[in-house]
Symmetry: C2
Subunit: 328 residues, 2 copies
């Protein structure tokens, strides 16, 4: 069987992108920068009230593996779509970038997941996700052979919301570690961390080798407002930690060092959707290339700087050429 | 019943946008700038070979009414989607801009139409259209009350491809003229004009009051390479003619004058998809506002200059504000 650098396990989602102003968010009681889960009915009502939208593939871990594939890594993805048009769009987009995606689509039950992404003039994104077919991802969908043959299994925290996916999550961690492979986790969203606080803390301590979080998420996880304190706590729990700080760049942590890496100044900022996902792609590509973690952080910053210059969370250019200045 | 400024009758299509280079077009034997019809199988094969795409609503007449609605005109649309996810996307996007769209979706038969739009670095677009559910638009879908209550019925030449739609087309023209309303036609594509040359010429002479064409289409229609000659021939056949000349602006024609209107210099040219459709929107909005045709042409140029600065054929901004400098 083909071996993979990174296996992503996450929600298989098509994004519905719309540019709105801050007043709109207020009128819908949406907290800027957050992701909230909505029912099919609520998603339909919300969508009906929106203007002209653009649809394109999304999903946190899926964005990350798409970024890795674009840089030349061998990647695989496990996630659940329904056998419908948006499912076909998702499948096309992840396959076309060279990612192996063999999870069978669900035939019955809810439609392919979609996430309504509200992009405000400050390029911040606020998301309402209808999980749809994603809730049908179960332990059975975790292909043991794929997990065993992947150097890193990358999991998104969002997957911790649907109950059966948690079991899938745990199964993947168990298999990966049994094979001596690494497990990476993205905390995804501060509200997601808040919802599952104790479970996430246990997961990070016991099952995660490489942790990705932004400042809000890591503070929420360790219940502290002090970033330096949380960095030191995270250092004790995981081999490698990367904390993204928006325009401020990132903090990278291993057993030996806690280092801050300056962000890249982006003048044509359009949409921060996928910034964290693509940071993770760049960082993991650095790790796979055996770079020191400071260079991994710089690579994460660089790749994130591309995704925020256009609408959507999938790379608009070939990232292999784009990152040549850092990785040959 | 509510009365409408403009009724658009056309193919109900969702665009699948992808940026490619010229080599790609050559490798697929695609003629740059053209639209060709493809089968479901060919569309699927083509799509499978493409990279990451963006999906958004399109369709020539639909783009025009969306533009008119964005400027504040009251609009209606007749076209056929299937009852599927892309049909819902199309319906959402045309409804949300304030256009009345009541054509019932087809329940059986082919899926909602899609058009794969290849955008080259020179911003030119080349299109492969799978007509899908559009072929199910028939005379029955032409709601007589809507046609009678619309000042202008705007038809796209592309609709002349599916046989049953021709009958729908003729019915709409008959009703509009019976009520003393105007009929506008866009020639859509030189190859479309070539395919249906004699029929189009008869249609233009007998049934069209306002004709839209680009230089290639009008030359093809009148079988002449001389633009001035074709302009004079068109002047004899229709009350009003607008010929778009790309960056060169447009030529506007009525019984009294043939006038050239300079184009607007656009520095950030991205994608010309919808340029002709939105030119027509601006021009018709000028006519509805009782402007002289030279101002209608300038308004067409202005609105077209917005659509070519971003991917996709639907306005990214509120055109009502955008055109205020010309129309109050």
């Amino acid at each position: 069987m083909k071996s993979f650098d990174v296996l992503g396990i996450g929600n298989a989602i098509v994004d519905i992108l719309i540019q709105v102003d801050d007043e709109f968010l207020k009128s819908k009681n949406l907290v800027k920068g957050s992701m909230q889960l909505v029912s099919a009915d609520d998603a339909a009502i919300l969508y009906a009230g929106l203007g002209q939208c653009i649809e394109c593939s999304g999903g946190s871990a899926a964005n990350t593996v798409a970024g890795l594939a674009s840089m030349g890594a061998s990647t695989s993805f496990i996630g659940k779509v329904h056998d419908d048009q948006l499912g076909q769009v998702f499948t096309h987009d992840i396959n076309t970038i060279g990612t192996s995606f063999t999870t069978p689509p669900s035939i019955n039950g809810p439609a392919t997941a979609h996430c309504i992404v509200f992009v405000t003039p400050d390029a911040e994104r606020t998301m309402c996700t209808y999980l749809g077919a994603c809730v049908n991802l179960t332990e059975e969908d975790i292909d043991e052979k794929i997990v065993r043959s992947s150097k890193i299994s990358y999991l998104e925290g969002y997957l911790w919301d649907p109950e059966p996916a948690k079991a899938a999550f745990r199964k993947a961690i168990h298999i990966a570690h049994d094979e001596g492979n690494k497990v990476a986790l993205s905390l995804s969203d501060p509200f997601c961390v808040e919802r599952h606080h104790e479970e996430f803390l246990k997961l990070v301590k016991d099952g995660v080798d490489i942790l990705f979080a932004n400042q809000d998420e890591i503070k929420m996880l360790y219940g502290s407002d002090n970033l330096q304190d949380t960095a030191r706590l995270a250092q004790q729990d995981c081999d490698i930690v990367a904390i993204t700080c928006g325009a401020g760049g990132c903090i990278v942590i291993n057993k030996d060092e806690i280092t801050s890496i300056q962000g890249i100044n982006v003048t044509n900022l359009i949409d921060t959707t996928g910034a964290g996902d693509l940071f993770a792609a760049g960082f993991l590509y650095g790790l796979l290339s055996k770079k020191p973690i400071s260079e991994c952080g710089a690579l994460g910053n660089l790749v994130a700087s591309e995704i925020i210059t256009h609408l959507g969370a999938r790379p608009a250019i070939n990232l292999k050429d784009f990152v040549k200045k850092i990785v040959n």
